[in-house]
């Protein structure tokens, strides 16, 4: 049984389900862990957990073959006093992160703590890692005032459907790079660099926006929680197929 934890009703969620089921995999989508009965026991040598689902199914961690993790979002803070909401949300997020890291099965992506709590960091966060792997981020210009970036350089995301001249979207899925629409010319070097960058970051699945500048091709965005909303249908399909293959080919 594979698990999708988070939002499942978008291009990624639906495409992944189709691709996985084509490969004989069974997928269960849960919005979060705490809409259900959740028990996790941990000591110096063991870890075991179970989630009791609404249909009575008991999902032990050993029953899970792999997890596709969507962006951190706690769906089920209920019945709490408004003063307690933020605290309970923090508790749920912390428990979820710990549980994800306790699983022996493949988790894509299994984020380090900083990425779990800052899921869409500005591209500067990746500077050193990009440079180490022969990639360059966009020049973000001179900061203003307290060191805040001006709005045009703040790393605002390209909108769905935007296709400024010279901008290329790509997804890294394991050792594969899938470009949106047609594969651009002369990108071999960038593909191997992106794959290495993802590997160094500990990520198996990420979305990258790259732009042509006067200084060459630069990375404008890095998204470790892709949703494929900006990809055309054929590219999105290729990505979800590659993602499903990554899961089914992985060994525990």
């Amino acid at each position: 049984m594979y698990l999708l934890l988070g939002y499942a009703d978008d291009a990624l969620g639906k495409g992944f389900r189709r691709a996985l089921e084509k490969r004989g995999g069974q997928l269960r989508a849960l919005p979060d862990l705490f809409s259900f009965r959740f028990v996790w026991r941990l000591d110096s040598t063991h870890s075991s957990s179970e989630v009791m689902l609404e249909d009575g199914m008991r999902l032990a961690d050993n029953d899970i073959s792999g997890v596709l993790l969507r962006q951190r979002k706690v769906a089920g803070v209920r019945n709490s006093h408004p003063d307690d909401y933020n605290y309970i949300e923090a508790e749920m997020e912390a428990a979820s992160l710990g549980w994800i890291w306790s699983l022996a099965c493949p988790v894509i992506n299994r984020p380090p703590a900083w990425l779990w709590y800052c899921p869409k960091p500005p591209v500067q966060f990746w500077s050193r890692l990009l440079w180490t792997n022969g990639l360059h981020e966009c020049d973000l210009g001179r900061p203003q005032g307290r060191g805040r970036l001006s709005k045009e350089n703040s790393g605002e995301r390209l909108g769905a459907g935007d296709s400024p001249e010279g901008c290329h979207l790509a997804c890294v899925v394991g050792r594969v790079v899938v470009w949106n629409n047609a594969r651009p010319e002369n990108v071999d070097r960038y593909e191997s660099a992106l794959i290495e960058f993802a590997r160094c970051a500990g990520l198996s699945f990420l979305e990258v926006a790259m732009v042509k500048t006067s200084d060459g091709i630069r990375v404008k965005e890095v998204d470790p929680f892709p949703d494929l909303s900006r990809f055309c249908a054929p590219s999105a399909s290729t990505i979800t197929e590659a993602l499903a293959k990554l899961f089914t080919d992985s060994k525990r």
Binding site: F34, R37, F38, V39, W40, R41, L42, D43, S44, T45, S47, V77, R78, N79, S80, P82, D83, D84, N86, Y87, I88, A90, E91, M92, E93, A94, A95, L97, G98, W99, W101, S102, P112, A113, W114, W116, Y117, C118, P121, P122, Q124, F125, S127, R128, W131, T132, H136, D139, R142, P143, G145, R146, G147, R148, L149
Partner: protein
């Protein structure tokens, strides 16, 4: 030159500055307090090396001049007026601190590991430490069973980085267990024994033994319970584990909480990524701030 990055009214920063001033240690303060004037951060990369500068209203430091950064900017959850155990700052400052080539105590990214105690516990046990038997649950029946299994010798605390007082569940608390369905809580088997706080500075360890009858010695003063603190020594093996753990978590400065059980090696409860070391240094005169200055001051 050392850079201190944080709010100038932060008690730990005030303590550190006082210590370093008395030793005539050179540093600059990048004050992250609101309304405290202009901060300038302008950095870039050339041929793989970071360049640029940081500065305040009337000073500026080139990145190449920095030997080390001390970062402490603990945040608060406003509606609960609760302290957190992690540092927070603007994304741009965080990106700077995460990428600086010099030593940083601690990079914001590394500091985030304390926002999830069970996440940290998994890293702790990978370094060979024992951890207490732990239950994370939103199920009242499982919590009740856990408490009964340990004959009530159980504590509960926050799972996240929001600071909580570690407590034993009272009879009144156990009546409220059904409220667990609103959100999970962490329960642990209570370990009786001395607390040992280990401050790791680079490759040095400063161990402090705390003897106190309270469940959470940090709040013993609220109960009027006395507290004794004194320097102590660690075995070579425990020292090695502490250094390995700090390194694994990406921390150059850590406050590791150990608990001496009745037999065998100590348990490791938590790693503080923004250690309130001044509390310990005041009580024991251990030279943690001097060690920090030496560590961050060397290129």
């Amino acid at each position: 030159m050392i850079l201190i990055c944080g709010n100038r009214f932060n008690p730990v920063i005030m303590f550190l500055r006082a210590r370093w001033d008395s030793e005539h240690l050179a540093y600059r303060l990048l004050d992250l307090g609101r309304g405290e004037g202009k901060l300038v951060v302008e950095v870039g990369y050339k041929e793989g090396l970071m360049n640029g500068f940081v500065g305040g209203e009337d000073w500026r430091l080139e990145v190449s001049e920095l030997t080390g950064v001390f970062f402490n900017n603990s945040s608060r959850l406003p509606e609960k007026d609760a302290d957190t155990s992690f540092a927070a700052c603007d994304p741009e400052i965080a990106a700077l601190l995460n990428n600086l080539p010099c030593k940083v105590a601690n990079r914001p990214a590394a500091g985030m590991c304390n926002r999830s105690k069970p996440f940290q516990a998994l890293q702790i046990r990978e370094c060979g430490f024992r951890i207490p038997e732990t239950l994370v649950t939103n199920d009242p029946a499982a919590a009740k069973q856990f408490c009964e299994r340990y004959d009530g010798k159980v504590i509960f605390k926050s799972i996240s980085g929001v600071k909580s007082i570690v407590r034993k569940p009272s009879a009144e608390y156990l009546k409220r267990l059904p409220l667990l369905r609103n959100g999970p809580t962490q329960f642990q088997a209570f370990i009786a024994g001395d607390d040992i706080r280990v401050h790791v500075v680079g490759d040095q360890c400063f161990a402090t033994r705390i003897q106190c009858a309270s469940v959470d010695y940090r709040f013993a003063w609220q109960e009027g319970i006395p507290l004794q603190m004194k320097p102590t020594t660690l075995s070579a093996e425990v020292t090695s584990k502490c250094l390995r753990l700090s390194q694994k978590l990406g921390l150059t400065f850590a406050g590791i909480d150990l608990k001496e059980g009745p037999v065998g090696e100590p348990y490791c409860l938590e790693v503080n990524t923004v250690p309130g070391f001044s509390f310990y240094e005041r009580a024991t005169r251990q030279s943690i701030s001097a060690a920090l200055g030496e560590f961050l001051g060397q290129p």
